[in-house]
């Protein structure tokens, strides 16, 4: 199968053989794919500095079996490079995508969300609310979405004034106080903010803890390595 000019981002590149790179790409129509860029590490390669994360590319590749062979990579636009915290968060998101998306499983929605996220990170927008919304949409897209419309059981709407214990399998369970819950409580107000995407400063911390816990739950034993970078 030969694919031409497909919008893509490099999620990760590692050295492969003597002069090649093994790329993990996030593409719009084909999801995450693995592809070899032959000779990309040699001094003369025209791909040499293009195949870096966070750059919007148009790529072509031949797919036979599990790994593709890269045939082309053009830079579509030059975004200002990610710096500092935005860069660290970008690496975290890349790891998240590699862990949650299977190869050759198309998720055009995730691609669009990622594209928008990279643009916002590059433009220096406030990072944390963007990450929460991206995490919410990613989990939704891979079928692990949060239940943010109503309380666990589905009978009552979330109440902004109530505190909840959020359980990954069932949803938000109302709790009167922290002692009744095995996990930190999260306010109904914050859960509603996560649903609407209008997250304010005071809700950031509880939502971050919530998403971190849920992601760890879904990923199982092997935690995200990127978390070591945020100490």
């Amino acid at each position: 199968m030969r694919i031409l000019e497909e919008p893509a981002f490099v999620l990760h590149a590692r050295a492969f053989r003597e002069t090649s790179l093994l790329l993990e790409l996030l593409t719009r129509e084909h999801g995450r794919i693995g592809a070899v860029a032959r000779g990309a590490r040699s001094a003369k390669s025209r791909w040499r500095n293009r195949l870096q994360p966070f750059r919007p590319l148009l790529v072509g590749w031949n797919q036979r079996g599990e790994l593709g062979t890269l045939t082309g990579a053009e830079e579509v636009a030059t975004l200002p490079p990610l710096k500092g915290e935005a860069l660290m968060c970008g690496l975290y998101v890349n790891e998240l995508l590699i862990r949650f998306l299977h190869r050759s499983d198309p998720h055009p929605g995730v691609f669009s969300a990622y594209q928008a996220l990279v643009g916002s990170l590059s433009a220096g927008e406030q990072i944390q609310p963007l990450l929460r919304v991206f995490e919410r949409d990613l989990l939704q897209d891979v079928g692990l979405g949060l239940q943010l419309d109503h309380e666990a059981g589905g009978e009552r709407d979330l109440d902004p004034a109530t505190h909840y214990e959020y359980l990954p399998e069932s949803g938000a369970v109302p709790r009167d106080n922290q002692a009744d819950s095995a996990h930190p409580l999260v306010s109904g107000e914050a859960l509603i903010a996560l649903r609407t995407g209008q997250i304010n400063d005071s809700q950031q911390r509880e939502l971050k803890l919530l998403m971190r816990r849920l992601i760890r739950y879904h990923l199982g034993d092997k935690p995200l390595a990127s978390h070591d970078l945020f100490r």
Partner: protein, 200 residues
């Protein structure tokens, strides 16, 4: 060839070298056996001695057969400047090209969470302790301008700032003798955004 297990083993062993495939390995094996057994014996002694003796410098993590490498042990090098690089070959490149008189710290890699390379693997605890000693007054970050190199640079920058040590980063931009027309967009954008004032 199975009736010559030793020859087979030699060819297989040579393939551990970078850039050596089955064909080259076979050529090398036949070459040393046909014409140059003495050099091969010498190679094997040196190789095994090097593997036993060469370790990492206690201060900078670069390769050395002593406890401290030549640069770290030298009294004429300036201990107040510390340049952080990714690999031993970067030290050689900087030594050759510049008149830098300070010392180095070699990470032997770069932060890459997906590959499982975090701060601990790069000896950053050791570097932190070194910075805390208070001798360093400038941390020069010379990691590569790749995404992982930049992430490493940011991490180092945060670490040094916590201890209030001034940090500098080597400049990135247009190569000498290059022409703007042929430079890739990102490099040119970087060079443009970090332009320097020439007015006096």
């Amino acid at each position: 060839m199975n009736e010559e297990p030793l020859l087979e083993q030699l060819i297989e062993a040579l393939r551990c070298l970078p850039g050596v495939g089955p064909k080259s390995a076979q050529r090398m094996a036949f070459h040393v056996l046909e014409r140059d057994r003495d050099s091969a014996r010498h190679l094997s002694t040196v190789l095994s001695k090097a593997c036993d003796v060469i370790g990492h410098c206690a201060d900078c993590r670069n390769f050395t057969e002593l406890e401290r490498c030549r640069i770290c042990a030298s009294a004429s090098r300036d201990s107040s400047q510390l340049c952080v690089v990714e690999s031993p070959s970067d030290v050689i490149a900087i030594e050759r090209a510049t008149g830098y008189r300070g010392k180095y710290f070699v990470l032997l890699g770069r932060l890459s969470p997906i590959d499982g390379i975090g701060p601990a693997e790069l000896g950053l605890d050791q570097l932190k302790a070194r910075l805390a000693e208070g001798e360093v007054s400038e941390l020069i970050i010379a990691t590569n301008p790749t995404v992982e190199g930049e992430a490493t640079a940011y991490y180092l920058q945060e670490m040094a700032s916590q201890q209030e040590i001034p940090v500098t980063r080597i400049a990135h931009g247009v190569p000498l003798g290059g022409e703007l027309e042929y430079i890739d967009q990102s490099t040119l954008a970087m060079a443009f955004s970090s332009r320097q004032s020439l007015s006096r």
